[in-house]
């Protein structure tokens, strides 16, 4: 058993979008979908700000599945397609997914992506990790915490590629892991903590 998780250093995050493209590549994510995106808080553009010049600030937050301990998506899934696995990851069994999109409505983080149409890829072939299953029209998808990689003991691709070294991957069940130490010792930010979803993904500065 484990509780695999990602922690993001928000001071080191510059909103460079490398993790966004890394995820899209690794997981063969089609056009008009992103499993992982960067939002700039209260701004309409990537390099936007909050406030009025010169009293401005900017916070960029990479946002993907929070791999909640108490996942709202799982509770509403009528088929058991969405499940919490023994590594603490929230996963989707694509064969069981009937495309009802209850999970999409339930997820307060708005990170679930639905294949409304046949996926369109640019380039028009299956890129990324060959082990990642290809999803079809009518199926829900989202960050798997790079299941195919983390099953093999590798880090998720967003962590490997982050040029700012802002992302930390580890097991929250291991009190000696770096991520557990960060959770204990740093100024931690949990998104929508009052929802009671208990995200395993968290942010720190």
């Amino acid at each position: 058993m484990a509780r695999l998780a990602i922690a993001v250093d928000l001071h080191r995050c510059t909103g460079c979008h490398t993790c966004v493209n890394a995820c899209k590549m690794q997981n063969n994510v089609p056009m008009s979908m992103l499993w992982n995106r960067v939002i700039t808080e209260n701004a309409s553009m990537s390099d936007g700000v909050e406030g009025t010049y010169p009293n401005v600030s900017r916070t960029t937050i990479p946002l993907a599945c929070q791999h909640c301990e108490n996942p709202a998506c799982q509770k509403v899934c009528p088929t058991g397609a969405t499940y919490k696995d023994d590594q603490g990851r929230v996963e989707i069994d694509y064969d069981k997914c009937i495309g009802c999109r209850m999970c999409m409505a339930a997820c307060p983080y708005n990170v679930r992506q639905f294949n409304w149409e046949e996926p369109v890829r640019d380039p028009d072939f299956n890129y990324g990790d060959a082990r990642v299953p290809v999803r079809v029209k009518g199926v829900m998808e989202k960050c798997t915490l790079c299941k195919e990689r983390t099953d093999d003991g590798d880090e998720p691709m967003c962590v490997v590629c982050c040029p700012m070294r802002a992302r930390k991957f580890g097991d929250l069940d291991d009190p000696n892991s770096e991520i557990s130490r960060i959770r204990r010792e740093r100024n931690v930010r949990i998104l929508l903590e009052d929802m009671g979803t208990k995200p395993q993904v968290f942010y720190f500065a």
Binding site: A22, Y53, P123, D124
Partner: protein, 806 residues
């Protein structure tokens, strides 16, 4: 669509879709005879073949990331950092690098050779074969040669591929010229004071980039971690050299205080301890104000000034020339007043050199450089600096004190902002003055320069391939970017990469010049902006593609890097090397060039005499994932540790060559056009400038469908300026001045200073509604710059415009 898709990926139908996209640009659908090569032989049932290639990415990003590229069934499917780097900070890739998964296969790729059928600029082409293309090229080169001489043919390549065509000008006897005018505004003023860094570097690795005019950082960026105080002025590494910018965080975590000075709220401003907004184009005023405070409060390092600078050197007050120590051999040595012997002696013989004092030597009235500098500062009190920069005087005093006294201060500058304005050389010269006063150089954590493209650690010297002496290029005396405005003997041009749009100002004039040529050959991967004007278009391939297993080699950042082939050339494209070889064949000179790239790579390594890369061969590089460190790589590189590269070996602030312009010492002068009180302000009240986006390398990646999700070719403005013009977020607007106009959308961004309009640089004409951002840029030049190290500067950011609803 999925019904047609094989596991291998690209189907015939997909391929035709790609072809149609270029067809929309005017390419006839003929000539696509290579589907057999393009379509992989794999079938739906076969197990995919997957292998890994290691290669350094395009070099013009500035980081030269070596990448691990996975290729499945002949297609590029994964790009990851190369984990063979010793330092974690180099194991990098960014959104641009990963987006190549798509960008290599972009619909904007030029797929076949094409010849023009419509009028110039109409972009009407038909596909032709390579044989036909080469025949046309040969005829045109011979025709131009007979009519106007071989030098009437210009070969001009962008920074990205210049090295790949290094033999082509000589093969044709054509003209060529390394284009400058960009990224050297500050360097033109600073570097001459420091001199060439060769022989002035911390041992054992050599470093020759400092002092070459590019304002390179004197210590490499890994040294930032040793800085106690970092003053970043107009620097945003987080965009411009993204994959090296995490070193800023390492420095902060090690305790450095980071102050960012920038007109706009950049990422550097966001991540700093304090952001100090500044009026654009007044960096020189800030530095001179800091100098004033340092001098007034005696915060300077007197020992450094006496031992390492020319502050003690005596100047003839009447002529403004420095006194020489006499004798031809020693003319380079300054004369100083030695308090110990009470006489004027050579600078290197003085026991106690005098920093100040008025003296008459052999009837010549003399002052020290330091006296003259202090006098010039008196004409520029710190209050004036505060008025010009809009930075409170107390704040200038504070940063001057902290910079001078922290013990290890680094001044991080950039290639954007003031570097592309007319008074950049004065700012660079003033940086040299700050260095001379404080001694913040050559020590751990003490450095300055543009932390932008070319931020090397060490750079090993590889062997080079030599052509016979009689096979040589002609030198074009005129700078490339002056061709649209001045008479020349250039009648035909072979241009690889879109330098015309990116490296000349006032694009309307550039287009007229392109159309005035007898013949224009465009060699490019993508159909960009200048391609519209070509008579002949040749498809080059990306760095991922090659006909051969090994593509290229370079020494960069303390490593030797190999570029292996990842995939076959797409469509009918060829590598730059293959195109160069083919042209050499036509002109009977193929035997002068390497037979293969492997031969070239082996030659570069085998004939290198650089001890720091001894033992590195093609085979060891292949075995080590395409990269190996120089033996000195672990040691942080610092320049000017105990001497400068000037004739006197000292920092020479006093620049006699600038006497005719009264800039022998840095003296404030406003920008050309975009000064706050500029004459044109009443008509065009807004300054327009472009910046290097994190999603682009200048004009590259503007066809990246992945990155275009995150950024558009819009201008950004402050709400105050939008409101007064009745503009709303997303409105289509006309940006114009007397030189020209373009139309695109406007985005509201409070990160942008009122009075300022910004836009990511390099957008193609097709990315905006109409026109080109370069239509408004300033093509003025100053004679003063032509007398400096790298010559004329282009005033890309020294531009005023007005914006109105389109």
């Amino acid at each position: 669509m999925s019904g047609e898709k094989t596991r291998a990926g690209m189907t015939r139908r997909d391929f035709m879709k790609g072809a149609m996209a270029v067809g929309a640009l005017g390419v006839a659908a003929g000539g696509m005879a290579t589907t057999a090569n393009w379509l992989a032989p794999a079938t739906a049932v076969a197990e995919p073949e997957e292998h890994v290639a290691y290669l350094y990415h395009r070099t013009h990003c500035g980081c030269h990331c070596s990448l691990k590229c996975s290729v499945r069934d002949g297609r590029l499917c994964m790009i990851e950092p190369n984990d063979a780097y010793q330092d974690e900070c180099y194991r990098t890739v960014c959104a641009k690098g990963i987006s190549e998964i798509q960008h290599v296969y972009s619909a904007e790729r030029i797929q076949t050779p094409m010849k023009r059928v419509g009028q110039r600029g109409e972009a009407q082409f038909v596909s032709i074969t390579w044989d036909e293309a080469y025949q046309i090229l040969e005829e045109e080169v011979r025709k131009a040669g007979e009519q106007y001489g071989p030098e009437s043919v210009l070969v001009h390549c962008s920074s990205e591929c210049r090295g790949n065509y290094s033999f082509l000008p000589a093969i044709l006897g054509a003209s060529t010229q390394g284009a400058v005018g960009i990224d050297m505004g500050l360097g033109n003023g600073r570097d001459v004071a420091f001199g060439p860094s060769k022989g002035c570097t911390s041992l054992p690795g050599e470093y020759t980039q400092c002092g070459a005019g590019w304002n390179r950082p004197t210590n490499e960026p890994r040294d930032l971690v040793n800085a106690k105080y970092i003053l970043a002025v107009g620097n945003n590494m987080f965009h411009s050299v993204l994959t090296r910018s995490s070193l800023v965080f390492d420095a902060q975590e090690a305790g450095a205080k980071l102050i960012a000075v920038d007109p706009n709220y950049s990422q550097m401003a966001q991540k700093s301890d304090e952001w100090i907004p500044i009026q654009p184009g007044t960096d020189a005023a800030l530095y001179l104000g800091m100098c004033s405070h340092i001098v007034e409060e005696r915060l300077y390092d007197e020992g450094f000034m006496k031992r390492r600078t020319d502050f003690c050197f005596l100047v003839d007050v009447a002529s403004g020339e420095r006194l020489s120590a006499g004798g031809d051999d020693e003319a380079i040595v300054g004369l100083v007043w030695d308090n110990a012997s009470n006489s004027a002696v050579r600078h290197d013989e003085a026991q106690d050199p005098a920093l100040t004092g008025r003296r008459t030597i052999d009837g010549v009235e003399c002052r020290t450089v330091f006296d003259l500098f202090c006098e010039s500062l008196k004409e520029f009190p710190i209050g004036t600096a505060a008025e010009l920069t809009h930075i409170p005087q107390e704040k200038i005093e504070e940063i001057a004190r902290d910079y001078a006294t922290s013990g290890a201060s680094t001044l991080m500058l950039g290639y954007g902002g003031n570097d592309k304005m007319a008074n950049a050389d004065i700012a660079g010269h003033a940086v040299a003055a700050l260095t001379a006063l404080t001694g913040n150089i050559g020590k751990p954590g003490a450095s300055n320069g543009s932390y932008a493209d070319g931020i090397h650690g060490y750079q090993a010297t590889l062997g080079s391939w030599k052509l016979p002496d009689d096979v040589k290029a002609a030198t074009l005396e005129l700078k490339f970017f002056r061709l649209p405005y001045e008479e020349s003997n250039v009648h035909m041009a072979i241009i690889a990469g879109d330098s015309p749009m990116n490296r000349t100002a006032n694009y309307t004039m550039t287009e007229q010049w392109l159309d005035s040529l007898d013949f224009l050959v465009a060699i490019d991967m993508y159909y960009t902006s200048y391609t519209d004007h070509a008579d002949l278009v040749l498809p080059a391939c990306t760095v991922f593609e090659s006909e051969e297993p090994y593509v290229g080699i370079e020494a960069y950042g303390g490593y030797v890097l190999l570029r292996e082939k990842a995939i076959d050339p797409l469509f009918e494209s060829k590598t730059d090397y293959a195109i160069q070889n083919d042209i050499a064949e036509i002109f009977g000179r193929r035997d002068l060039l390497p037979k293969t790239q492997e031969e070239f790579i082996r030659h570069c390594l085998d004939t290198s005499t650089d001890e720091t890369i001894e033992g590195i061969t093609l085979d060891t590089l292949v075995a080590n994932q395409g990269l190996q460190p120089q033996s000195c790589q672990k040691t942080i590189r610092r320049a000017y540790v105990d001497k400068f590269g000037t004739k006197s070996g000292r920092l020479e602030l006093y620049n006699e060559a600038m006497l005719p312009y009264d800039q022998q010492l840095p003296k404030w002068e406003p920008a050309d056009e975009a000064g706050e009180d500029g004459e044109l302000r009443s008509k065009f009240p807004l300054q327009f400038a472009t910046y290097k986006s994190k999603f682009r390398v200048h004009n590259q990646f503007w066809d990246s469908s992945w990155n275009n999700q995150y950024e558009s070719a819009s201008i950004e403005m402050n709400g105050v300026d939008m409101e007064s013009r009745g503009l709303e977020d997303g409105d289509e607007v006309r940006i114009f001045n007397d030189r020209g106009e373009f139309v695109t959308s406007v985005l509201h961004n409070e990160a942008v200073r009122p009075g300022f309009v910004r836009m990511p640089s390099g957008a193609w004409k097709k990315n905006v509604k109409s026109g080109c951002f370069q239509n408004v840029s300033n093509s003025n030049v100053y004679e003063r710059h032509s007398k400096q190290q790298l010559g004329y500067l282009i005033f890309f950011n020294d531009v005023l415009v007005e914006v109105e609803k389109a």
